[in-house]
């Protein structure tokens, strides 16, 4: 689809250089810069690892449940873990602006926060349908000082063409990516930063698991996370999986990746080379994918609607190291309500998928078993999701 210069060569012009290095580094551990570490601490890292005693009591068979609460971060999700270093590296490149796309707005919000803290400008292309329905997130991004454009916008040729072709174009994540990249190529001092799928994004998120491995008082039998592109799941599990594969413990630990039936790439996708963006501007990667033109049905868990899973996660699934499961939105939100009432926290619709799996698994595990899951976000910015559940 992309007929211009090499997609790989294009990366040089759009992405922060340190991130490209990280994508291809041979280091087993990449140091966190002091500046990023300080912001992590100011924003609430380490995040809490808590025991879900209320949920345990509800299940009632003596299975122990721990969760890592990434919703404790400002913006309410794990997205800040990678937004902060990405914006930091962009600023180290001398960038005055970072541009990105966002669907439901969780990633755009995280970038807006990181950019405010680091002192550069955030420009967010938000799919128009979300821009119109998720007014709060738009408003909060602006409160943080971000420039938010509905996509298709009038500021890039891709946006203008899309509107010309269809004046009521609702926008798509692929188009928003193309617009963000085009925006970056249009001017000096701009960098494009991505929210998921790329390996450095997953690597930044492993701060979650690095902390959890030190916080959890016992070896889990099962570690669970939800999967959009894979970053929150990988963030929690990779440090455990790494240790297990290296023979450094966790021999009996299972890993379960939970996705939405609205985008079931892990359970129904093909393992092949595909584009990470629907526009095909970025280099192809080998992953479990439903195809970059896959159009998912509407879901409140907008963060799980992505068509593919990160390459390393896809490989781990293919190799059988990571198990998979898909749930419907209703199954997930039902579990979300149970969690809210037993633990006091309204989970993000995305995280509710993980909770559903935790409940289902816990019910058939023996007494004394230990589960750890990632509560990747809270649901305070997703009232529409729960409105529906209450009505039913």
């Amino acid at each position: 689809p992309y007929e211009g210069e090499s997609r790989i060569a294009l990366l040089n012009r759009i992405m922060p250089s340190e991130l490209l290095h990280q994508e291809f580094t041979s280091l087993m551990y990449v140091p966190i810069p002091d500046e990023v570490r300080e912001i992590y601490m100011r924003l609430g890292r380490p995040t809490p690892l808590r025991r879900a005693r209320g949920l345990e009591k509800l299940i009632g068979n003596g299975v122990k449940i721990y969760y890592k609460f990434e919703g404790a971060l400002p913006g309410g999700s794990h997205k800040l873990n990678t937004a902060v270093p990405q914006v930091y590296y962009a600023s180290k490149d001398g960038a005055k602006e970072v541009a990105t796309e966002t669907g439901a707005g969780q990633w755009g919000l995280a970038v807006s926060i990181a950019a405010a803290l680091i002192g550069i400008k955030a420009v967010v292309f938000m799919t128009k349908s979300s821009y119109l329905s998720k007014r709060q997130r738009v408003m909060f991004m602006r409160t943080y000082g971000a420039m938010v454009y509905p996509s298709p916008s009038e500021v890039t040729k891709y946006g203008v063409e899309a509107v010309k072709a269809n004046p009521n174009h609702p926008g798509s994540l692929g188009l928003a990516i193309s617009e963000a990249i085009d925006y970056v190529l249009q001017g000096e001092g701009r960098r494009y930063i991505p929210g998921s799928v790329l390996e450095f994004v997953l690597m930044h998120q492993t701060v979650i698991g690095q902390e959890a491995i030190n916080q959890i008082p016992e070896e889990p039998d099962l570690v669970v996370g939800c999967v959009g592109g894979g970053s929150n799941f990988a963030g929690l599990t990779y440090p455990f999986i790494g240790a297990k594969l290296r023979g450094e413990g966790f021999e009996k630990t299972r890993f379960l990746a939970v996705e939405s039936k609205a985008a079931p790439k892990l359970t129904q996708g093909r393992y092949e080379y595909d584009f990470p963006d629907s526009g095909g501007l970025l280099p192809m990667i080998r992953m479990l994918t439903l195809g970059h033109n896959y159009v998912p049905p509407p879901s409140h868990a907008a963060g799980l609607r992505y068509h593919g899973a990160a390459p390393s996660l896809s490989l781990l699934v293919k190799e059988g190291v990571v198990e998979t499961r898909a749930y419907t939105q209703e199954e997930a939100l039902e579990a979300g309500v149970l969690f809210a009432r037993s633990e006091g926290i309204i989970p993000a619709p995305e995280s509710s998928h993980a909770i559903r799996a935790v409940i289902d698994e816990a019910r058939r595990m023996p007494k004394g078993s230990v589960i750890l899951f990632n509560l990747s976000g809270h649901g305070l910015l997703d009232p529409d999701a729960y409105e529906k559940v209450n009505a039913s």
């Binding site: 090499s6 790989i8 060569a9 040089n12 340190e18 490209l20 291809f24 580094t25 280091l27 080998r286």
Partner: protein, 242 residues
């Protein structure tokens, strides 16, 4: 039959831009390189950047036929190596190995073997050995340490580290840091590095970081329209060897 340390290697796509010119080039580079990589022309050079893609498209012959235009590559470079994508030869591995053996190559390097066909690694080694060839392996900076270690235990002719995401395209990657790390993991195995090598300084710093051999490809092919220019470039590069 090992490669000397330190080594400079050259990559050429067989029969590009024509059989005649390819053979003429081989002739002229003898003595300038320590090993030679001959690319088997393919319709889908998936890890290659624009220059080598163009070389595959512009080759006079395709596939193994292109390789067979001479029957002894060792005349031109001390250690010849065939290079192809295993995706093209999943069901005819033995044909490739036999061809390699026939044309005097020491190994066949498949860059996509461990990424896309890890299940064929055992069979690949077997086929190499049974045709009197040594195995060789292509890895990336992200290949797991344990896999690298197990590959190096197979006594390969060499292990080839691709420095960038595609041939001929530089990215802001600390390649020396990667070479140092991989060197540490590899033990004694012969380490060749390549992709976007284009200056004696780069050759020097890669050898210094721990590489045993460095390959040039795109930067040479780009200059082949003026063979003399290409040859002086190669000599200039060679100045980077210690």
């Amino acid at each position: 039959m090992g490669i000397s340390r330190p080594a400079l290697g050259l990559y050429l796509t067989a029969t590009y831009p024509s059989t005649k010119r390819f053979l003429e080039t081989l002739d002229k580079i003898s003595g300038l390189v320590d090993f030679l990589e001959i690319g088997i022309p393919t319709r889908n050079p998936k890890y290659d950047g624009p220059v080598i893609r163009m070389a595959h498209q512009g080759a006079e012959l395709m596939g193994l036929n292109a390789v067979k235009v001479t029957d002894d590559y060792s005349k031109y470079g001390k250690v010849p190596v065939l290079m192809g994508y295993i995706s093209d030869y999943v069901n005819s591995l033995n044909d490739v190995a036999k061809t390699a053996s026939d044309v005097g190559a020491a190994t066949v390097l498949f860059p996509d073997l461990i990424f896309d066909y890890p299940e064929l690694i055992g069979r690949y080694i077997e086929v190499m050995r049974s045709n009197g060839l040594a195995p060789s392996f292509f890895i990336s900076s992200k290949t797991p340490y344990r896999l690298i270690r197990s590959l190096s235990e197979q006594e390969p002719l060499f292990i080839y580290l691709g420095l960038y995401a595609a041939t001929g395209i530089k990215l802001p990657i600390y390649i020396e840091q990667n070479v140092v790390t991989i060197r540490g993991v590899l033990g004694d195995a012969f380490l060749i590095v390549g992709f976007a090598v284009n200056s004696p300084d780069m050759v020097r710093s890669l050898i210094k970081a721990g590489a045993d051999g460095v390959v040039v490809g795109s930067a040479f092919i780009q200059r082949m329209s003026d063979l003399n220019d290409a040859l002086s470039f190669l000599k200039w590069l060679r100045g980077g060897l210690p």
